[in-house]
Amino acid sequence: MEIAAQALPRNRRVPSWGPWAVYAVALVLVVVLSRATDLNVALLAVVGAILAGAAVYLWSRALEGSRRAVDRAATLAVTSSFVVALVPLVSLLVTVIRRGAERFDVTFFTHSLRNVVGEGGGAVHAIVGTIIITGAAAVVSIPIGILTAVYLREYGRGKLAAAVTFFVDVTAGIPSIVAGLFAYALFALFLGPGIRLGIIGSVALAVLMIPIIVRSTEEILRIVPNSLREASYALGVPKWKTIVRVVLPTALGGIITGVMLAIARVVGETAPLLVTTGLITSVNTNPFAGRMMNLSVFAYFQYKTPGVPPEPYLARAWAAALTLIIIVLVLYFVARLVSLRYGRTEIQR
């Protein structure tokens, strides 16, 4: 019967080295052609991939039947999409590492730009500033965020809770520059226009962080099974103690992860800090007085207003960018480790 003949795979198989051989051939052709002609490498690669895929499909169809062939084609399509998605990321990382490595030295991490023109100098003032500004933002936003989430999950009923949820959702979508302008306007009201302080940047970042922390904490509190709360109530433990001693410890891993992700999100923000913290070339450790530099603004200005020659400035900018990426990666990895370690004692399925 026709259907049977189509549906059942035939007995012969494409050998396991087969597709790889086809891709290898295609790769070689692409390389050769790109050297030999002026054709764009990316175009050649795309065409090569499509042709290689078609070849594998036809070969498989001939030997194994259409079902297996379609299977292989789908696998190829999915894999290529993945590769395409990876390309920008890899390219970015490679570029930043390559360019940033030039100034990734001890001087960079120990000196500021005080009295530095041209070569030399470092970004220690920017690193210190990033840490202080982000740290202050965290100190403000973590308690507010967690307590808001606790209110929404454990206590909130009715209009106030609905309003709070609405505002949290709205704030989550604020463009970061708006947060910066808000913070600046707030402080300008009291301290006059033109004010530039580290703490204003922290406020702006806090406005960005709070909705993230609220949402992720709320999510993790939702996952804590209600049976734990009930078990605690049934022992005659009051509600607030249940939350503090049972619910939050159980949710701790998830909360920490959420906080770290929020920090990672804002540590690289440039726009709000541009309008709030100002420019300075030396280290300032007091967020309440004077301007403060941070890594993203530092990178921006090194790029935007290089001196003559521009190379040292650009090199410093790349190094700052690399430092930022490393900080974010470290934060992500730590978040991962925390959730893995706490995952053992956490909610079991």
Partner: protein, 281 residues
Amino acid sequence: MVSRATAQPASEKSTENSMSVDGNSCIEVSDLNLYYGTFRAVADVNMTIPRHKATALIGASGCGKSTFLRSLNRMHELVPGARAEGTVELDGEDVYAPTVDPVAVRRRVGMVFQAPNPFPTMSIYDNVAAGLKLNRSKIKKSDLDDVVERSLRGANLWEEVKDRLGKSGMGLSGGQQQRLCIARAIAVEPEVLLMDEPASALDPISTLAIEDLVQELKQNYTIVIVTHNMQQASRASDITGFFNIDGAGQPGRLIEMDRTDKIFTNPANKATEDYVSGRFG
């Protein structure tokens, strides 16, 4: 031929809870109605729960027996909009009196739930001690050790866990976890222990272990069990109450309550008869 002693003449069938058990009552329920908002879930319950006995509540799903059980320690109030009318007297004091704090009630009336729920971030020792540590600020370590050991022995779990008190409770089997929850509940020395289908998530061996445990526990505590497993009610309880519901949307009612052997050999009410013999529906 054996001549049997003449039994009492066939008594008239009463529909009240004819309790011919000795022992004073621990909980007196009068005219209890339970509402979720405007919906009446349980209607007009009058019941006496005798001290130091195991009372089982049976009935089909949705007939209000779990709701009723939770009203005995005011846990049903955790659902927004839930309220109770009527009185539940624990040793003569109405737990629904306006001056009574629900948290205080729950310290005297403990509860064990259907799915075992030990606190995942605490060790076995801390789980058992949780009720005490969370409620009272300072207890000497030696006193706490005594309480933990006593409670674990009371729950027939001491021998199995005495060498790993510091380990997490989540590593125990289902039956052991449930006994851990029982130990946790009795550590605060309640007068009454409510059990909401305590064995329905467990395998048959663990179920029988829990039932044996109930027989031991009732020497010191008054036990009320809700179960949808009739054999469990017949095996493990002294008194059985049957809840039923007239139809969808109707409130659940207590139809009959009597000694367990009577309910399962010669119940007074036809609905009870149909339910226990499985001819329901």
